[in-house]
Subunit: 307 residues, 2 copies
């Protein structure tokens, strides 16, 4: 799957993943009203509005990008109705040829991580048959519990030829509170990065490992250091755009082969019509605005990428 991701990035010249993190206040009135009329102004109506909104965006951008990253929390907050739409979104994206990175940030002790890995990346055996539950291609994982919380994910990934992105340095303002603490004179995120590189050896693709890392765009100096520490690790870079990360800072996250990173944008794409630069599209053409925002992001990144 990491090989496929790289191939698609090269073909589309777009190291871009679009975060499908819908919020109700992103959704144009007409979609909300229709869903509420058909299903009620309740959890089901809200979830169905999200589905229609997602479908519009996916249809408008699927040919431009290699991957999407649905953030499960945005669906989980609507309970079972929301999670049904999370699953439907995954299935639809895969039908459209997109690689799906489940942004789930799970992580627990061994037997529990096995259950998460099974549910999101693997197959569960029931009687004599096997079934898939959510079936993403990649998942994000939290490393706080150490390797025996990670290993079950790696094992399932090896079996299924799937991959992970492990949190190393996150994009949020307080990420440094623990991640930047010095351990033997070096920040904790460097230790985590070294471990991710080491774990990555367990499941190598052709040029990069199936076991990637998350490093926020908002800390470019950190990106530079981690790029060196983890040369064969693919980096998922959140924080571009709405969170403040700029394209000129992103060059440091790529290797000399022009690869090694994939940059996420969520709100800046899916709610582009709400931004000044795209307001001419209006809410009815929210998906056209999203398409234009992807094209502009690709151009913006190309400059950083080809530097």
């Amino acid at each position: 799957m990491i090989n496929k991701l790289i191939e698609r990035i090269k073909k589309l010249q777009a190291p871009i993943v679009v975060g499908l993190d819908p919020m109700l206040d992103y959704i144009p009135e007409q979609i909300l009203n229709e869903a509420y009329t058909n299903y009620g102004e309740n959890l089901k109506g809200a979830a169905q509005a999200i589905w229609q909104y997602n479908k519009g965006i996916i249809d408008a951008i699927y040919d431009l990008i290699p991957a999407v990253k649905p953030q499960i929390a945005m669906y989980e907050q609507f309970g079972l109705e929301g999670l049904e739409v999370f699953k439907r979104t995954i299935d639809y994206c895969k039908q459209k040829g997109l690689i799906v990175i489940g942004d789930i940030k799970r992580g627990d002790i061994g037997s529990t991580s096995t259950a998460y890995a099974t549910g999101h990346l693997g197959k569960i055996k029931i009687g004599s048959s096997s079934f898939t539950a959510f079936d993403e291609d990649f998942a994000t994982v939290n490393p706080y519990l150490g390797f025996d919380g990670i290993k079950p994910f790696v094992d399932v990934c090896r079996e299924e030829k799937k991959g992970l992105f492990i949190l190393v340095k996150t994009s949020n303002p307080s990420s440094g509170e623990f991640q930047d603490q010095l351990v033997d004179g070096k920040p904790l995120y460097e230790l985590v990065g070294r471990k991710v590189a080491e774990w990555g050896e367990l499941h190598m693709g052709e040029t990069y490992s199936y076991i990637g890392a998350v490093v926020g765009a908002t800390y470019p100096e950190v990106g530079k250091a981690l790029r060196r520490i983890m040369p064969k690790t693919f980096i998922l870079v959140p924080g571009y755009g709405a969170q403040g990360g700029k394209a000129e800072d992103l060059a440091a996250y790529f290797n000399n082969d022009g690869l090694g990173a994939i940059v996420n944008s969520s709100r800046g794409i899916i709610a582009a019509y709400k931004l000044k630069a795209y307001e001419k599209f209006g809410p009815e053409a929210y998906s056209d605005a999203a398409r234009q925002a992807v094209i502009d992001m690709r151009e913006d990144l190309r400059q950083a990428w080809e530097r």
Copy 2:
């Protein structure tokens, strides 16, 4: 909710939480066969078997214990069918008067943590009404992203009078890989513990904070140190029993008021009938075995508790 938890612990003389972490191979044949016959040998059949199994256990033990802790991963691995049973289990436990600690170990950047907090502890506004999704009483949370990943959970807890247990030192063998790293000469878990105590001031109950901590039973010396660092923090202690934590080591997790900790057992209770000590019950009486195991655990802890 922390006041209610303490009141129930005192009344029942049982600082015990039972982990509802069902695995298919814990479930007696007769329950599995009936579910597969009625619903098919598939995700739905498996999930319904888990529901019947859970219900049997809850009915057998609800009057002995203050709280249960369903581990969401064990349901999530069966996809939507599993999560429907997670929700049904929560609702049923609350009907029976049990406090429900959702063992979800979520944690993300601010806006995403808000969504998780909303879905698991709060209410979501849709149009002019509010709805609950999973609606646990407490949730476990991962601190790796720092305070702005935790604050949305605290905010929702303040609004709903609910609580958290934040991972400080986990019970698994490799928990030390990052958690034990020395920061200014002290282990990282102590820094996290100090922060949890500080965050706890934001949402105090009568004697303890609504913001608790997770500290594994498998590291009693650590429990002792963290008990001192976080005097008003309630500690959820996993790792007793099957994972190797012993009652005599648990005294250190309690304060002189005999309170301040609640000890979790999962497999040792819910699959007690598979243990040598309870095999006389047999699979048909698995719930009677669970009840006896709770009574024995209460006695075992009382010795540690009253020391």
